[in-house]
Every structure is written in structure tokens, then in C-alpha cells.
């Protein structure tokens, strides 16, 4: 007797749960983003069709992608042990010339989104983002707002009395970082604890003392404004800037996340 079918069933269940979760994110982001972004050209919908919920994430890649080496990829490859070769993916199926740049659509976004928008998402080059995985969920962080990727070497020191999403303090070579259990912070309803599941990397948010624990570094992609379904102002997830359907990942709103963390931290007397 083999337990292979059981394992497969379990893996399928996890896939389904994750797929559902990402779908919820996509639906939420799409639903609230529709109104403020009415001035945006509808080209995104045509070029980046939303995949069916039952389809695995891996099958939802855009039809035409060009892969090339990038300095940041080389750097990450040299400095980190990663589970898969890093590649920079440039979404080329949206002709830049067709994107109608309208400043008003950016102004309608929340201040956090506006801060992200100040990265000039509408530039023809787009913004390089690092994709990493937390409990199966793919997250993207813009490289200009990436403080660093740290390989977990020393243990994280837990501090008593802290919120469940705080793993503790970690002493890096140059900085002391407060490590966030990304799964607990981003999807508490899943009751996944990275302290149990394990983690391999810390994603430092900008130059802040905060870092997200993650399990896998996937690759880097270049995202342009219209490849992202921006979340609306009324979103209940301040950490979410939007979703990238082509990559089936959530784009992290770094300023929004930092604000959320700062709001939840109290000054010590």
C-alpha cells in the first residue's frame, strides 16, 4: 500500500486553497479598482485575461514573454542560495505605445499607491520586482523598495509578549531587523505559522528595520502599470498594492505595509 494518492490529494487541497485565496485577492482588487481606474485604457483586460479559478497558477503565464539576464538577478544568484534559477521576465505583450498615460488615474489612487506610483510605473522600462513565496502565495516587491534579501543564517530571537505576526529580532551583518511572519500578517485566516513551516530568506522593506520572512525566492519580473490590477482606496489590505494576473501574484505596497507596521508598534517608554 502506498500513501502516494493521499499525498497527492493533500497537495491538490493546498493548491485549491491557495488558488481560492489568490482568486479572492484578485476579485477584491479588481472589484474595488474598477471605479477609480475607469480612466485607464481597457487594453489591460484584453491583454491580461483573468484565468479561470480552476487553472493552476503555473498555466497562467502570459502568451509571450522575453527572458533576459539582469544585474540584480546575477547579484542574487551570486549571493543567495535559491531553489530555482532566477530570471527576469519582461512582459512584452502590452505594446508600450498603446498605453495611454493619464495622470488623473494616478491621482485617484490612495497616498500609499501614489507613493508606489511615484516609482514611475508608466515608464516604458517598467519596474523590476522580486517575486517571492510565502506559504504558497506569490508576492512581488519593487526592487527600488527592496532593502535587501538576507539568507537566514542565525536564529531569530523571539521577544515575549509580541503580536503573533512578529517572529522576533534578527541580527544581520549590518542591521538588526524585526522579522515579520508574513503568513500571519497577510493571511491570518489561514492559521499558517512560518515558525512551524520554516523560512529561508528575509525580505527587508526599503531601509526600514522590518523584514518579511519568506520561504522561496522565485524570480524577478519587470512590471508595467497596466499589468497590475491596482487595489482601490477602500481595500482592507493596506499591504496590497494590487495583483498581477499574469504572474498570479500580489504586489506588496511597501509604504502601506510599513505604515501598518509602524501603527502597530508602540514606543517603549
Amino acid at each position: 500500500m502506498s500513501d502516494q494518492p493521499l499525498k497527492t490529494a493533500s497537495a491538490n487541497q493546498v493548491d485549491t486553497v491557495l488558488q481560492d485565496y489568490l482568486d479572492q485577492l484578485l476579485v477584491a482588487a479588481t472589484a474595488v479598482a474598477e471605479e477609480p481606474l475607469t480612466s485607464a485604457p481597457p487594453v489591460t483586460e484584453k491583454v491580461q485575461p483573468q484565468p479561470a479559478a480552476s487553472e493552476p497558477a503555473e498555466k497562467t503565464a502570459p502568451p509571450a514573454v522575453a527572458v533576459k539576464d539582469a544585474p540584480v538577478v546575477t547579484y542574487l544568484q551570486q549571493n543567495l542560495h535559491v531553489s530555482a534559477p532566477l530570471q527576469e521576465t519582461v512582459i512584452t505583450d502590452t505594446p508600450v505605445a498603446e498605453v495611454d498615460v493619464k495622470e488623473s488615474s494616478v491621482e485617484e489612487l490612495s497616498p500609499d499607491i501614489a507613493a508606489l506610483a511615484s516609482l514611475n510605473w508608466r515608464s516604458s522600462q517598467g519596474i523590476d520586482c522580486l517575486i517571492f513565496k510565502v506559504a504558497g502565495l506569490k508576492l512581488a516587491i519593487p526592487l527600488p523598495l527592496l532593502g535587501g534579501v538576507h539568507n537566514v543564517t542565525d536564529k531569530v530571537t523571539p521577544l515575549f509578549g509580541q503580536a503573533v505576526w512578529s517572529l522576533g529580532v534578527w541580527q544581520g551583518e549590518n542591521a538588526k531587523l524585526t522579522i515579520i511572519d508574513s503568513a500571519q500578517l497577510i493571511m491570518p485566516e489561514r492559521h499558517i505559522r512560518l515558525s512551524d513551516e520554516g523560512y529561508s530568506f528575509f525580505i527587508q522593506l526599503d531601509r526600514s528595520p522590518w523584514a518579511l520572512a519568506c520561504q522561496e525566492i522565485c524570480d524577478t519580473v519587470t512590471l508595467v502599470h497596466d499589468s497590475i490590477k491596482w487595489r482601490g482606496e477602500t481595500s482592507k489590505r493596506p499591504w496590497l498594492a494590487g495583483t498581477v494576473i499574469s504572474e498570479m501574484c500580489a504586489l506588496v505596497d511597501v509604504p502601506g505595509l510599513l505604515k501598518l507596521l509602524e501603527e502597530n508598534s508602540r514606543k517603549r517608554a
Binding site: 542565525d154 530571537t157 515575549f160 503580536a163 512578529s166 538588526k176 524585526t178 514606543k267
Partner: protein
């Protein structure tokens, strides 16, 4: 030269901390507040005492209340071992004992070496943490003993 060095020392004093272990982490308390360190001895429970009080011990004729440090810090309970110690401290003009897994050493830290960390605690115990310091390849959590108890609790202890 010596005057400059004196000014520097005044600006950045060296403090001594007694370190102890609890649940595989190292904590530090100001040496000035530590009176002595005792081997574990029988702790007599006090009926009606608050849960954070383990009981009392007889210290050369004086009754000293022993606090359950693990419970106070929100850590799971553990069996006593040969390394278990009762650290007699003075805080808020009271002498109390705190039960710890082991006492490690006395370390010297410059004030400037002590760093604060973001406090994301919902629990009351989060405020006990005075700061952290990287020493001997590990992170030392410095505890503010004055905040170990609220004013009401210190008063309650006095009345035991």
C-alpha cells in the same frame, strides 16, 4: 586627555547586567538590582496569592516572595532542573525572587550598545523589554524589572 575620556564615559556609561536563561533565550537584568542568586529550594505556596506568585521562601529568616517569571513572560511552564535558580532582586523598594532556568554570567554593556526594538506587543508583558543587545554572538533581551509588575501588583505583593 583624561578629561575627554571622562566625558565620554559619562556620556556612554558601562553598565553591568546579570544574564539568565529562560526557554532557550538569554535575558539581562541590571546588576544593581540583583542582591543574590540562590539554588532552587522548596517554595511554599501561598493560598489566595495571585497566579504570578509561586510562593515564598525563607531567606535567612526573611520571607521573600518568588515570582513565576515564565508565567509573567507568557512562556510555557517547565520542570525545575539542577540549573534552576532564584534570583533575589530589589525593585520598587521591595525584595522579591524571580525563578529562572539558569543564571549565565555578568556582561558589561555600553549604554550605546543597547538598542530598542519596535514593540508590536499586544500583551502587557511586552513592556518589560527595555531593549536588546548583540553580545557574544547572541541577542540579549534586557528586562526592565520596575515594569515587571504594575503599581497595584507591587502593592499586592507587599501585602502578602
Amino acid at each position: 586627555m583624561s578629561a575627554i575620556a571622562g566625558n565620554k564615559a559619562a556620556e556612554d556609561p558601562v553598565l553591568q547586567w546579570v544574564t539568565f536563561r529562560l526557554e532557550n533565550e538569554t535575558y539581562g537584568i541590571n546588576v544593581m538590582q540583583v542582591q543574590e542568586v540562590l539554588r532552587y529550594s522548596e517554595i511554599a505556596p501561598v493560598p489566595g496569592a495571585p497566579p504570578y506568585v509561586l510562593g515564598i521562601i525563607n531567606l535567612r529568616g526573611n520571607v521573600v516572595t518568588v515570582i513565576d517569571t515564565r508565567l509573567r513572560f507568557g512562556l510555557p511552564t517547565a520542570e525545575t532542573t539542577d540549573q534552576t535558580r532564584i534570583v533575589i532582586i530589589e525593585a520598587e523598594n521591595q525584595v522579591v525572587g524571580i525563578l529562572v532556568d539558569a543564571v549565565a554570567e555578568v556582561v558589561y554593556l555600553r549604554q550605546s550598545e543597547i538598542e530598542t526594538t519596535p514593540n508590536v506587543g499586544n500583551e502587557e508583558s511586552a513592556k518589560f523589554i527595555q531593549g536588546v543587545c548583540h553580545k557574544n554572538d547572541e541577542l540579549l533581551i534586557l528586562v526592565d524589572l520596575e515594569k515587571l509588575m504594575t503599581d497595584e501588583e507591587w502593592t499586592e505583593l507587599q501585602g502578602l
